[in-house]
């Protein structure tokens, strides 16, 4: 154990907003005296650009590639190695002003409401009803709602909530669209009781969601799919676009 460098940011959750001061301390631990030729602190905001696989000559930058780091360097003499310590932190956009309008959605799923069905006749009969409390969501609050399997000929195997992030980026030459499943939550396992409301409840993952963003060249949007898997391997999906915001 020689000399060690550590960065301690004051906020435990490492979340900062535009215009705030990031403060903390650099801790140097050493048994003996330390000689150095200066300690420097660097802050870095990085967007990782990569060549699009779809359209030639276009760079793409997606949510996952945005990163903020704090870096501390200690320069030392020739004999000792320079020391470096990095520490990631998170920048939240400022809370949006104005009031969020709740937008509840009721839904009914039956064989008849489905699209993309090849042989509608072979489908088992079912009636699934439910609602989402709101498709306008505050990012720090869970997505809630209820779902009732009123009846279903085939046994239910599983009901899941699939959270999808859709990123679009590009310009006049063309758009790249990337849909990623960022979370999948099972809300029912096995043949649930008919007529009994099952809660819909999903916490938005902190690191993979951000407020819905729409600019000319860059869009980050979110959707939730309610996926019902029946025992005869029929897969029923109902899609709901979400609007996330930070309040």
């Amino acid at each position: 154990m020689g000399t060690a460098l550590d960065i301690k940011i004051k906020r435990a959750n490492k979340v900062y907003h535009c215009g705030e001061i990031l403060s903390g301390v650099v801790i140097i631990t050493s048994k003996d005296t330390v000689q150095h030729q200066g300690i420097s602190l660097t802050m870095e905001g990085l967007v990782n650009l990569q060549l699009s696989a779809k359209s030639v000559g276009v760079f793409e930058a997606f949510y996952n590639s945005v990163k903020y780091t704090l870096r501390c360097d200690m320069r030392r003499s020739l004999l000792a190695k320079d020391l470096t310590k990095t520490c990631e932190f998170i920048v939240h956009s400022l809370s949006q002003k104005g009031k969020l309008m709740p937008s509840p959605v009721d839904f009914t799923i039956t064989p008849e409401t489905l699209q993309n069905v090849k042989e509608r006749a072979s489908l088992p009969k079912f009636l699934i009803r439910g609602h989402l409390s709101s498709t306008n969501c505050i990012i720090t609050q869970p997505l809630t709602g209820e779902l009732v399997v009123e009846n279903a000929e085939a046994a239910v195997k599983s009901i899941e909530l699939q959270l999808v992030r859709v990123e679009t980026c590009g310009c006049a030459e063309g758009y790249a669209r990337d849909a990623t499943e960022i979370q999948n939550i099972q809300i029912a396992d096995g043949d649930v009781c008919r007529g009994l409301p099952v809660p819909i409840y999903m916490v938005f993952p902190r690191l993979f969601t951000c407020p819905t963003l729409e600019t000319t060249n860059f869009k980050v949007e979110f959707e939730v799919n309610i996926v019902v898997l029946l025992h005869d391997d029929h897969l029923i999906t109902e899609n709901f676009p979400l609007k996330l915001c930070r309040m």
């Binding site: 990095t86 990631e88 046994a155 009901i159 029912a188 396992d189 043949d191 809660p199 409840y201 690191l207």
Partner: protein, 983 residues
């Protein structure tokens, strides 16, 4: 007749000696025991019992003047009780013995009582703790594990067991780290799930224990993600219902792991809240939790919220429910209802009900005041109740070949638990409402059973007739009816139904029970109802019930599979019927015992009965019904003893039989008493302690007879006493323990002597003398080999003391028995380097000097000892003197052999011992003896091994004695005894 013959002999011996030469060399000084005793006896002081007595109860009072921090300080003062007690020891027994008083005043109790009061206070404040009247989960655990077992093969996901434990690369950015972690989680969730098949139940349990251990290991080596993975994988096992009959046990095992995890997480976060100074108080508020701890806690919840599958997500979040306390005040009360409704997503009703049970369990522990969620869980369960009869469940049961009644019993532990939580300190109204709700559902037997298991026994007992009605209405094909009656019976064993209903309840219940065809079902039910019967009814009903049990359990030897239950029936019967004449007049009681045909069980049952008898029988008895039955029972116990029986077992059986023998008394009918002992001897001949007890009992009987006759036996009582003596004489040789035989010979000899059976007493003593050579050097005491010398020494001294008063036999020589014993001692092979023989010889000198006295120090009433027989005849005295000389010569020879370097210390000690003997008993006016004592004195000091202090004290004693009348020769002696100063 023999007494007169002895006297005659004494006179005959006296005449020739009267004319012989006077005895010149007398060894023993003459004593006047009466005057000596008057001089030396302690002054008796009248005791005032009101005052301090060391054995009186001590009351302990905590001194309140001292600082409270020194709690341990107690001062003991003796209280003066006003009642004067005859025996201070007996007062110890009446419940106020000093030890229990100390214990009562000791610290732990006071602290618990203060704890109790603070707890009560807290209960009042926020009822955040469950009282001790709530039966905890831990007491249910083992019961469930024992009941829900399987012989089928189980399987477990193998990659749970092979956690690679990929170390997260240090220094990587947080989001990356989290990402890899989440990927790892997914890995495990989606990854190829190899199943480890063909595990036996035990293997399976071992694996789960391994997981529990690896959870702790992972945690302690700071691999928190791995720990979480293990927990997720474990809780996933709970969604698997293959081998469904094992599910309740699986639930128990896995929730143990979850509990461990919950505790680890909670304690970890709590430790983060620790300030430099102190940890948080018990009821901390979220404001006092620092940000780092909060953030860590939040992280756990986020991580868990992202678990893909429903069941692990539910269980793991429930496991750390308590951690909500770090985040917000309302956390738990918001979380519980959410988790409760989340369970609705579980399709399998059995899996769901156990999840509810777990949630209630955690809820009761963390926030028992939140009753709403408990009720909600139960109502939700009722809503899904119909699923049990749905296709999905039925198909599963067909596939697993599980019958509906068995399947329904799998629900019981969970529902019982939920209802128990609900019923805890719940108002009567709520219980009634719950009951009504259950009633409304179709096949409600399962619920009914759980209501009976979970609700207060008083509540159930008061509505017994209602319950019987409901049980009767239940569907035959559903939940097993006998279990319902069993549950009802369990309640009635704890609480009493209304007086007027009692008989009807028994009749109604038994009507159903007696119709049960399966003997196991029958006995499980009957076992419980026996207690109710014994509690409220007479021997007639108990007899009927026992008869019914016999009738059901005898065909096809069904009793062989029901020993525990049958044993418990006996236990219950003897718990309630303490009157043994009543018990044995229950006609079917003994036939019931005949069902215990496996010997070890039969003996166990007999032991129980005997223990109860010894505990509860207050007075001795001669009731032939009791005697016959108990002799039969004791005989059964005795006959179970064989070569393989352990010593402890034998000791225990013997103690029980002895307890019985001591309780048998025929009052003044001594002959009947003796014949009982004779019968007992023939029955219990294989248990030595019983034979020993019988010998003591018979000896006691002889002494009782003597007491009744005030020492003057009639022809009839003399014959009876001789019969007693004969009993002992022929019984003793059958004992194997040599010291038991020796002591009993001596003891019985003394009894014979006391009853004027002189020749019989002689026979006992002769037998003892001839037995001494057989004493081995080592004897077995409590399984350890120990040298026998100290026992032999003790016995011989005791024996010699008795021989003082035994009159010589007319046809044998003078001091026949003493000489015989001395010869035996002479020939006995003593330990090479021991002085025991010489110590005995020295003691023999004490005896011989006592024998030369005109009147002996003690006598046996109505028996003339040698002092009277010989009347101080000089030839008799000469014989004794000759014996003395022989013995002294032996001692001196031995002292000479101790002249070697390494034995000088022993020589010194023995010389002093011998010197003291002469000083106490010898006549020091006898010059030879006087010179001998001076020589011994010098010998003791010669090599510097004598203790100077002792020598000084001895000399002082001699000087003091010399001042007494007729002791002036001690002055000369003192002058001849030099004190050697050590250099």
């Amino acid at each position: 007749g023999s007494r007169r013959a002895l006297r005659g002999r004494g006179r005959a011996l006296g005449s020739p000696l009267a004319s012989g030469p006077p005895v010149t060399c007398r060894h023993a000084r003459s004593r006047n025991y009466v005057s000596e005793s008057e001089v030396y006896k302690l002054e008796s002081v009248p005791l005032d019992f009101g005052d301090y007595h060391p054995l009186k109860p001590i009351t302990v009072t905590e001194s309140k003047t001292k600082k409270m921090s020194r709690k341990g300080s107690t001062s003991s003062t003796s209280s003066s009780s006003s009642s004067s007690m005859m025996d201070p020891l007996s007062s110890v027994l009446d419940g106020t013995d000093p030890l229990s008083l100390f214990a009562a005043a000791a610290d732990p109790v006071t602290t618990t009582s203060t704890m109790d009061s603070t707890r009560k206070k807290r209960d009042k404040d926020d009822s955040s703790a469950v009282g001790s009247d709530f039966e905890p989960w831990s007491s249910k655990r083992s019961e469930i594990l024992a009941r829900y077992t399987t012989t089928e093969k189980l399987s477990i996901n193998s990659n749970i067991l092979s956690f690679a434990g990929k170390a997260a690369t240090p220094g990587s950015a947080v989001s990356e780290k989290v990402r890899t972690r989440l990927e790892e989680l997914d890995d495990l969730e989606e990854g190829s799930q190899k199943e480890l098949l063909n595990l036996t139940q035990q293997d399976y349990m071992n694996r789960i224990e391994e997981l529990n251990q690896s959870l702790k290991d992972a945690w302690s080596s700071d691999q928190k993600v791995k720990a979480l993975k293990i927990v997720i994988q474990c809780s996933k096992l709970l969604s698997d219902t293959t081998v469904i009959q094992f599910y309740p046990s699986k639930f128990v095992l896995i929730t143990d792991i979850l509990d461990t995890f919950g505790k680890l997480v909670y304690e970890r976060i709590l430790s983060m809240c620790m300030d430099n100074r102190a940890s948080l108080p018990d009821n901390f508020s979220p404001e006092s939790v620092n940000d780092t701890a909060k953030e860590t806690c939040l992280n756990w919840f986020f991580k868990i919220a992202s678990i893909r599958e429903l069941i692990p997500r539910l269980y793991v979040e429930a496991a750390i429910l308590k951690c909500n306390k770090f985040l917000s005040k309302m956390g738990i009360s918001e979380c519980l209802p959410r988790l409760t409704s989340m369970i609705r997503g579980i399709g399998d009703p059995l899996v769901a009900v156990y999840a509810r049970a777990y949630l209630c369990r955690v809820g009761m522990e963390v926030a028992p005041q939140l009753k709403e969620s408990l009720n909600k869980n139960f109502f939700d369960f009722l809503l899904t109740f119909k699923q049990i009869h749905g296709d999905t469940v039925q198909n599963q049961l067909v596939a697993q070949c599980v019958e509906i009644p068995l399947y329904l019993t799998l629900y019981s532990p969970a529902i019982d638990w939920i209802l128990q939580c609900i019923a805890y300190r719940a108002p009567e109204v709520l219980l009634t409402e719950m009951m009504e709700r259950c009633k409304k559902l179709g096949n409600n037997a399962l619920l009914l059973n759980s209501v009976m298991s979970a609700f207060r026994a008083e509540f159930i007992a008061a509505r017994s007739m209602d319950f019987i009605g409901m049980i009767k209405e239940c569907d035959e094909s559903g939940f097993p009816k006998h279990l319902l009656f069993r549950s009802l019976g369990l309640n009635l064993a704890l609480a009493d139904p209304p007086e007027n209903d009692r008989l009807q309840i028994l009749n109604e219940a038994w009507k159903v029970i007696t119709k049960l065809k399966n003997p196991q079902d029958y006995i499980n039910c009957a076992e419980v109802w026996v207690e109710y019967t014994c509690r409220h009814f007479t021997k007639r009903e108990v007899n009927t019930v026992l008869a019914d049990v016999i009738k059901h359990m005898t065909p096809d030897r069904a009793f062989e599979d029901a020993y525990p239950q049958l044993q418990s029936i006996i236990q219950k019967v003897i718990t309630y019927i303490h009157d043994f004449s009543l018990l044995f007049s229950v006609e079917k009681f003994l036939p019931f015992l005949d069902m215990f045909q496996k010997e070890c069980v039969r003996v166990e049952v007999c032991k129980c009965i005997m223990e109860a008898f010894i505990k509860h029988q207050q007075e001795s008895t001669k009731d032939p019904v009791i005697l016959n039955a108990l002799l039969h029972i004791c005989k059964t116990m005795h006959d179970s003893v064989n070569a393989l029986t352990l010593e402890d077992e034998k000791r225990m059986l013997a103690a029980l039989i002895n307890g019985f023998i001591k309780m048998v008394s025929f009052g003044r009918d001594f002959e009947q008493q003796l014949s009982f002992y004779v019968e007992a001897r023939s029955m219990f001949c294989n248990l030595e302690p019983v034979l020993v007890q019988l010998i003591h009992s018979v000896n006691q009987l002889a002494m009782e007879t003597r007491k009744v006759m005030k020492g003057n036996h009639s022809r009839k009582t003399a014959a009876f006493v001789r019969a007693c003596v004969a009993f002992c004489f022929i019984t003793i040789p059958s004992l194997s323990s040599i010291f038991a035989r020796l002591n009993l010979y001596l003891h019985s000899g003394q009894v014979a002597l006391a009853n004027q059976c002189l020749s019989q007493a002689d026979a006992f003593f002769k037998a003892a003398v001839s037995l001494v050579p057989e004493v081995p050097k080592m004897i077995n005491i409590d399984g350890k080999m120990r040298p026998s010398d100290s026992f032999l020494l003790e016995f011989l001294c005791n024996f010699f003391s008795t021989l003082l008063v035994v009159p010589d036999h007319p046809e044998q020589g003078v001091l026949f028995l003493v000489r015989g014993l001395l010869n035996v001692i002479q020939d006995y092979t003593w330990e090479d380097n021991s002085d025991d023989k010489i110590r005995i010889y020295t003691n023999v000198l004490h005896l011989l000097s006592a024998m030369t006295q005109e009147t002996y120090i003690y006598h046996v009433d109505k028996v003339d000892s040698n002092d009277t027989l010989y009347g101080g005849d000089s030839k008799f005295l000469a014989e004794i003197n000759k014996l003395c000389e022989t013995v002294i010569a032996q001692i001196l020879d031995h002292l000479k052999t101790l002249g070697k370097e390494e034995t000088l210390k022993r020589q010194s000690q023995l010389a002093l011992y011998f010197f003291n003997t002469i000083l106490a008993h010898g006549d020091l006016r006898n010059n030879k003896l006087n010179q001998l004592s001076v020589n011994l004195w010098n010998l003791a000091q010669k090599h510097g091994f004598a203790d100077t202090k002792t020598m000084v004290k001895t000399l002082e004693y001699i000087k003091r004695r010399s001042k007494q009348p007729e002791m002036s020769h001690f002055t000369d002696l003192a002058l001849r005894l030099p004190l050697q100063s050590r250099t």
